[in-house]
Subunit: 335 residues, 2 copies
Amino acid sequence: MNQPKKTTVATLGEHRIIQIIQNHLTPMLNMPVPFGDDVSAVNLNETLAAVLKTDMLVAKTDVPEEMSLFQAARKAIVMNVSDFASKGVQPIAALVALGLPKGFTQKNIEDIADGLNAGAQEYGAYIIGGDTSEASDLIISISLYGTAQKPTLMLRSGAKPGDILAVTGLFGKSAAGLRFLLGDCSASKNAKTLIDAVLTPKARLYEGLALSGCGGVSASMDSSDGLAWTLHELARLSNVGFELTEVPIAPEVKRFAELNGLEPSELALFGGEEYELVVTVKPEKWEATVAAVEAVGGQLLPIGKATEQKQILLKTKDKLLAIEARGWEHFKSQP
Amino acid sequence: MNQPKKTTVATLGEHRIIQIIQNHLTPMLNMPVPFGDDVSAVNLNETLAAVLKTDMLVAKTDVPEEMSLFQAARKAIVMNVSDFASKGVQPIAALVALGLPKGFTQKNIEDIADGLNAGAQEYGAYIIGGDTSEASDLIISISLYGTAQKPTLMLRSGAKPGDILAVTGLFGKSAAGLRFLLGDCSASKNAKTLIDAVLTPKARLYEGLALSGCGGVSASMDSSDGLAWTLHELARLSNVGFELTEVPIAPEVKRFAELNGLEPSELALFGGEEYELVVTVKPEKWEATVAAVEAVGGQLLPIGKATEQKQILLKTKDKLLAIEARGWEHFKSQP
């Protein structure tokens, strides 16, 4: 008889691991945000919830060689703020658990502290506490805290057929930038834009707060696991499908793809580590929603609509292409 | 000219590292709990605060070989609950950021999830979310959340000369247990008690809630960095000293020390990884405070008093001995 092959985290992948863990936990009743959404939350009273998020940056997998410690620490904050942004929640305070390799110097610590502080201040939050331990990798584990009026929380699960699918920006820059940094592509004059997308990502917090404030959003998620994966998650949790009229590709990414003989939509759909918001908007609220996002200096780009049919399809001139459920996944993906 | 030697985290030590980081952060105004206390907190309104804590368990330094993954995960929760206990705060929810080595199996993940859940449920809390990443070490970073009426928070800083110094249990068992597990000592019939102290530590949550509820405590801290270090911290932040009439040593530790030719007070004062509460109590409230702790099945043992003189002294038959400010410290200490 064949021995079953041992299942390790590398074969399971991050999504399945989280599922396994969840199956072993006693669920809290009446959670204002379900397990597995971008953030967690606890009821404070009838209308108010405390909102919490933790996300860990591990240098080995999340930090390219060219990224400074300041940038890595700032990114650890941005990753968490992006999840708050996707629910429309202002972060108030962050705690930091640091795992530090033994050879780190005082200057290294100062750079990390400065990056954490810069990230927090950029989004109106404060670092109020933390913990340090010795570890083999540099680990920056952030916990973010805020409060929200429960009806304003934008969950992953509310999209309805006919809702407009939209994004807060164009995709592919961080995937292109990462390829450029890994040294197997050239980028000519777009290099700086692409590298900046990797080293200094931005969370769409002000867009998220504006989206939440105008009441037209039916579902929302951040795109840190990649656009394609995000679409599949929104579809699964909302019990809809999506028909895209276009893949929102940044012009710099189109040029980069052309220069290197790559498929631009591959970079835009399956890249990950990109912090745009992907939302669905009730059609009757579309114009007000766009206006609200533009009022804070952002943009909201329509890319398709939610459908009854439970597939993620891209409409081209003459046919409908299925978009696969692939994306960046810890344990499975290789940077 | 001599080159200055490079200062690394190993020479700085955890306490100095935290100080350096704090110096680089923009402080939040009106924090209900100052930076550097056992927990952090944010005002919710005039009287209520959200209480937050993050503490990271790293297998390499915090998990002896004999500790199972279930026990390690449970301990990660206990470490954080102990800090809540020391402030008198009920934990409500926990988030978990996991760093998992690539070879971990599904069974390993399940054991970790079960240990996390057991730890949370033991203290009335729920795991409501988290994140997983690949890491070289097993890392379990917990964030704990609760709320508290601000006047009930027991800070490190309120001890006054004349206050009674007290502890919720006897010390030295985890230091003795760890030495036994490391294989360089024998323990005869006490082995199980000592090993249990290492593998299945308990947080004094119900004692902490009782202490906070009766209003007699002027300062409080958990003893996870060791009794001696805890006394020095309480003294420094309260601007007092302490005169101890005895070192609270567990009888099993006295026997273990005798059997192995060790100094029992060394194990009790400088061991660390022990989760008792060290508190000061206003003398006029002493009896009510003891009664409150005993009502929840705990004990409160007087071991001395706070003094004007800023030293930590142990009164023996014929002299006063100074207790050094040593303890368990990440980066500096070797398990």
